[in-house]
């Protein structure tokens, strides 16, 4: 049943999940003061939160309710696909006085996405 399988695959592909996004500090001109890293994997969340919400989609109870309401009333939007877990990165950079600083910045990397 190739057609059914392809449809499932297509639907699954559009589901809320994490996508790769590499932030290159060189692109935004921050390489002048950020010594390391030169860039990092930030990731982003994208996809649809539509019924049924599988376990791996980390849906909140509210998202389940909102999705259910959406199924009967299209005016109510679907739940959003957002980061559910973030992690920090350490930056080694030069401050305004040319002094070297190592600092841990929270919520810079998407670890997982959910609805």
């Amino acid at each position: 049943n190739g057609g059914h399988s392809a449809k499932l695959k297509r639907l699954s592909r559009g589901r809320c999940r994490r996508h790769p996004l590499y932030v290159d500090f060189n692109d935004v001109g921050w390489h002048k003061w950020i010594i390391a890293p030169s860039g990092y994997d930030a990731f982003f969340c994208l996809g649809e939160c539509r019924y049924p919400l599988a376990d791996h989609m980390n849906a909140s109870s509210h998202a389940v309710v909102q999705t259910m309401v959406n199924s009967v009333n299209g005016a109510v939007p679907r739940a959003c696909c957002v980061p559910t877990s973030l992690s920090p990165i350490a930056l080694l950079y030069l401050d305004h006085q040319d002094r070297v600083v190592l600092k841990n910045y929270q919520d810079m990397v998407v670890e997982s996405c959910g609805c």
Binding site: R13, W33, R99, V100, N104
Partner: protein, 342 residues
């Protein structure tokens, strides 16, 4: 741009606009908006504006090693005696480094060659950042003679070079045993109490230290400055073993930046986790392990982390390992034998 294999929708990792979204050209924000977004991000990073450092600023090797160790790039750590300062970083999420202020001319120099005054300007530490601890790092005699005997280093907190009543912070007996194995010198590290530093730098934002370097058999004490002549001769005779607190004649900026005194502060800005949050220590063998564990105890490390772990495994075979040194928590010993630069 993107990395990794999960590119089914984003095309080689670069995010592509959805069919309903505007074209990339029209999606670009106007310069004013871009500036506002950047300012917002910088303020979230604790910066008021984008730093604009002068070209060619030298980065202290200690900070580089600290960063590389934190990133698990153990094979890139250059100092074989590097020790991860876990006792400082357990609470801190910010590490700042300061070079000492070099006075112009003879200002700040004393006639007594056994003593030297150095000061640091730490006023750039933001007011809302809590200073937790600090270290004064001094490089010991690159050209020290092994035949010379032990000597004593007294570290004082001193407001200025003519402070009549400096506060003794630490006295340390130094010998040349470790130097014999370290042709590039050896960093003496003095742990400094944050409360003392806060009080000392309050108002001026400046921290001054007086270093007194005397042969162990010398009986001269600091307050009696008139009687220091006996020790002076001895110190003058052995001046090659002094700490690297003065720049050599003709020494270039880069090499001096790697040898001059360094004040390292460990602080927390009230946001986020400390630097060692993800590094846990296994009981018993003292090894450091990075990575989170799920409820079933299995590691959730990504494939990239697994590759790093494999690299770490090879590094261990190369002859050095991460383990306790002197029984100190978080100490790291790079075994001298068989260290391979990869």
């Amino acid at each position: 741009g993107g990395q990794g294999g999960d590119t089914s929708e984003t095309g080689h990792g670069r995010a592509s606009p959805s069919p309903n979204s505007p074209s990339p050209t029209s999606a670009l924000p106007d310069p004013g908006l871009a500036q506002a977004i950047q300012s917002l991000l910088l303020s979230r990073l604790g910066l008021q504006s984008q730093p604009n450092p002068r070209p060619g600023v030298s980065v202290p090797q200690y900070l580089l090693d600290l960063y590389r160790f934190h990133q698990q790039q153990y094979h890139l750590v250059e100092d074989p005696l590097f020790r991860f300062p876990s006792q400082h970083i357990e609470q801190a999420n910010t590490v700042r480094s300061f070079h000492h202020h070099e006075p112009l001319g003879d200002h700040g120099k004393t006639n007594d060659r056994t003593r030297v005054h150095i000061s640091f300007n730490i006023s750039s530490i933001p007011q809302d950042e809590l200073l937790l601890s600090a270290e004064l790092r001094l490089l010991r005699g690159v050209r020290a003679s092994l035949a010379q005997g032990p000597y004593r280093l007294n570290l004082y907190l001193s407001k200025h070079h003519k402070d009549p009543e400096p506060t003794l912070l630490e006295t340390r007996l130094l010998n040349n045993v470790l130097l014999s194995h370290q042709p590039n010198g050896f960093w003496e590290v003095f742990r400094l109490d944050a409360e003392v530093l806060r009080k000392a730098s309050a108002g001026t934002g400046s921290l001054g230290f007086l270093l007194e370097n005397r042969p162990e058999n010398s009986t001269t004490s600091l307050p009696d400055q008139s009687s220091s002549a006996a020790g002076e001769d001895e110190a003058e005779k052995h001046k090659e073993r002094h700490l690297r607190v003065c720049r050599s004649v003709g020494q270039d900026d880069h090499s001096w930046a790697q040898e001059r005194p360094l004040l390292v502060t460990y602080s927390h800005d009230g946001h986020g986790a400390p630097l060692v949050k993800h590094i846990r220590r296994t009981a018993g063998n003292g090894q450091w392990v990075r990575g989170r564990k799920g409820s079933n105890g299995k590691s959730k490390n990504s494939s990239k982390s697994r590759k790093k772990d494999q690299g770490w495994g090879r590094a261990k075979k190369g002859g050095y390992s991460v383990q306790d040194r002197d029984g100190d928590k978080g100490g790291v010993n790079w075994s001298d034998r068989g260290r391979v630069k990869r």
